[in-house]
């Protein structure tokens, strides 16, 4: 008994550090689990493992790469600030908060569940939001400076459900670890944004033939307080700026935008890295060459064109700017680490899926480590660039330890991969199949 206790304790510690080594040391296994080792691992996870025969060596430890949002100690650090539900704290300065997947259970994301990704310091709250001014200049015939009030009255107002996702969503999947916030899948929201189309404003300014790219500027000061550089200042090809779903937004979910999410006015560039959706917008400039602002060039928001060795050094000179985000799904009905009553034989799952500029064709779930997949029902998007809700039922043959694997397929036929593809130094584009651990009984 004493020995067993010591084994479990050391297993927990070892696994926290290095699961593959722990796997070999603690269970002395290579390949599938058998006999006593399987029983021992079942004891360690607190239940039987019904699909153990399908678990190859290293499979179970892969689970440890995911923090359990439902857990108190040992899970990620949580924080609750004014105006937000309890979120996963990625960092305080700059303030970065991730929505737990189970917080994203609404079809339209409420303000208190919109993730926070700041790059700099928070700007002052605008005393008179309607008088906030921003400028359209550069390669245009008529530079414009508009107040928010003028924007609202002069151009057609539109309301759309739009996905906004951090370019680094899923980064924690990469091994070796990459620099930046170690996001799970929760740097995503699908709120109802109201604003005017950026293209309407650009047409009013008259984009010249030479205006091929945009550069975006906001009021948030650089983190260091330096005044000679922007916290973040990115840009995109003019075609994306002219997309009918790219908005200058002044309201969300029927009310003002929360200050921390970019009030009083911000860009909304759905389906592309969220850093393009400039908060506290002060200026959009039209350029002949790609913008060179903070967050452009090198390895920033750029992906290898020719895959590189994971963990290797690269200056990103040959990389390409990210455009449409890859297909991804979340499970919002059950937290990783959910414990269910003994005898539970069906799980009603639900979540959301999206695919950048594309749509989602299918979502599948598996509770046998990917051996068989059950097709879920996927709703149509509320509009182009909105996420899609999905739901469906999976059967559990017995009590014990399960993992719900969930996987979306986009309209081009591309599935979420089994492992994050195209490793890059700043960890973009990790959209591997996610796994939530469930214990029945």
């Amino acid at each position: 008994m004493k020995k067993a206790f010591r084994t479990e304790r050391s297993a927990a510690e070892l696994y926290a550090d290095d699961p593959e080594r722990a796997d070999a040391l603690v269970w002395n296994r290579r390949g599938a689990l058998k006999g006593a080792a399987l029983a021992a691992m079942g004891t360690a996870v607190g239940g039987a493992i019904p699909f153990s025969a399908q678990m190859p060596g290293g499979t179970l430890p892969a689970l440890f790469t995911r923090p359990a949002a439902a857990q108190g100690s040992g899970g990620p650090q949580m924080m609750r600030i004014d105006g937000k539900v309890e979120m996963i704290l990625q960092g305080e300065r700059p303030l970065v908060l991730e929505a737990p997947e189970t917080a994203l259970d609404d079809a339209v994301t409420p303000n208190d569940k919109i993730f926070v990704r700041n790059n700099g310091q928070l700007p002052e709250v605008a005393a008179n939001p309607d008088a906030w001014r921003f400028t359209i200049d550069g390669e245009v015939n008529t530079p414009l400076t508009l107040t928010v009030a003028e924007l609202r009255s002069r151009f057609e107002n539109v309301t759309l459900q739009l996905q906004m996702e951090c370019g680094g969503n899923g980064r924690a999947q990469f091994q070796p670890q990459t620099r930046g916030n170690q996001w799970g899948n929760g740097a995503i929201c699908n709120a109802a944004w109201t604003g005017v189309r950026l293209r309407d404003v650009l047409r009013a300014a008259g984009v010249k033939e030479t205006g091929r790219y945009t550069g975006h500027f906001g009021a948030d000061p650089h983190l260091s307080g330096a005044t000679d550089r922007a916290a973040i200042s990115r840009g995109m090809p003019v075609a994306k700026a002219m997309d009918e779903d790219t908005l200058i937004a002044f309201a969300v979910n029927g009310g003002p935008i929360p200050h921390i999410n970019g009030a009083p006015v911000r860009l909304l560039v759905p389906g592309w890295p969220g850093s393009l959706s400039q908060k506290w917008l002060t200026r959009v400039t039209l350029l002949t060459e790609p913008h060179r602002g903070q967050g452009m060039g090198g390895t920033s928001y750029r992906m290898p064109v020719r895959p590189i060795v994971p963990g290797s050094s690269n200056d990103g000179a040959d990389f390409a700017d990210m455009t449409s985000m890859p297909v991804r799904s979340i499970l919002s009905s059950h937290a990783h680490g959910t414990r269910l009553a003994a005898g539970t034989r069906n799980l009603d799952l639900r979540g959301a899926a999206w695919a950048g500029d594309h749509s989602v064709r299918a979502v599948h779930a598996s509770v046998d480590f990917g051996q068989t997949w059950t097709e879920m029902r996927v709703a149509a998007p509320a509009n182009r660039h909105a996420w899609q809700r999905w739901e469906g039922r999976v059967a559990l043959p017995s009590d014990g330890y399960y993992e719900v694997w969930y996987r979306a397929t986009d309209s081009e036929g591309r599935m979420q991969p089994h492992a994050p593809a195209n490793w890059n130094p700043q960890g973009y584009g990790a959209n591997a199949i996610s796994r939530a651990a469930i214990l029945v009984g």
Binding site: E8, A16, P67, G72, G75, I81, G91, E92, L95
Partner: protein
């Protein structure tokens, strides 16, 4: 404040959740002791927290070469004052020693593993 929150977590879920204001959240009170003790602890703390909190350091796991590269990157991309000579060596060595490569992300564990 963060430490207070952590303490409340430790007490269990029965307590009402402490709410943090935006100012408190973005201006966390941190001290060098939030980083593991060792040679370079204070130097790392003060050099890094001039710009950002320690959360991103504590969640990072890089080799010495990658940490060293990161110093250059922060200077080139984020305007950090160049770190050179003995100070750079001290800081990079400390970071690689205490936040070196790992197989899993920090804080991750099987929720059912005792």
């Amino acid at each position: 404040m963060l430490r207070t929150l952590a303490f409340l977590f430790a007490l269990g879920g029965g307590l009402a959740f402490a709410q943090t204001s935006l100012d408190q959240a973005t201006q966390p009170v941190e001290e060098p002791s939030i980083l593991p003790a060792g040679e370079g602890q204070e130097e790392v703390f003060y050099a890094c927290t001039a710009c950002h909190s320690t959360a991103i350091i504590r969640r990072s796991r890089f080799s010495e070469a990658r940490w060293d590269e990161l110093m250059t990157w922060m200077t080139e991309v984020h305007g950090m004052a160049p770190l050179e000579g003995e100070e750079r060596r001290l800081i990079v060595t400390y970071l690689a020693q205490h936040f070196g490569p790992a197989q899993t992300r920090p804080g991750a564990r099987n929720p059912f593993l005792n």
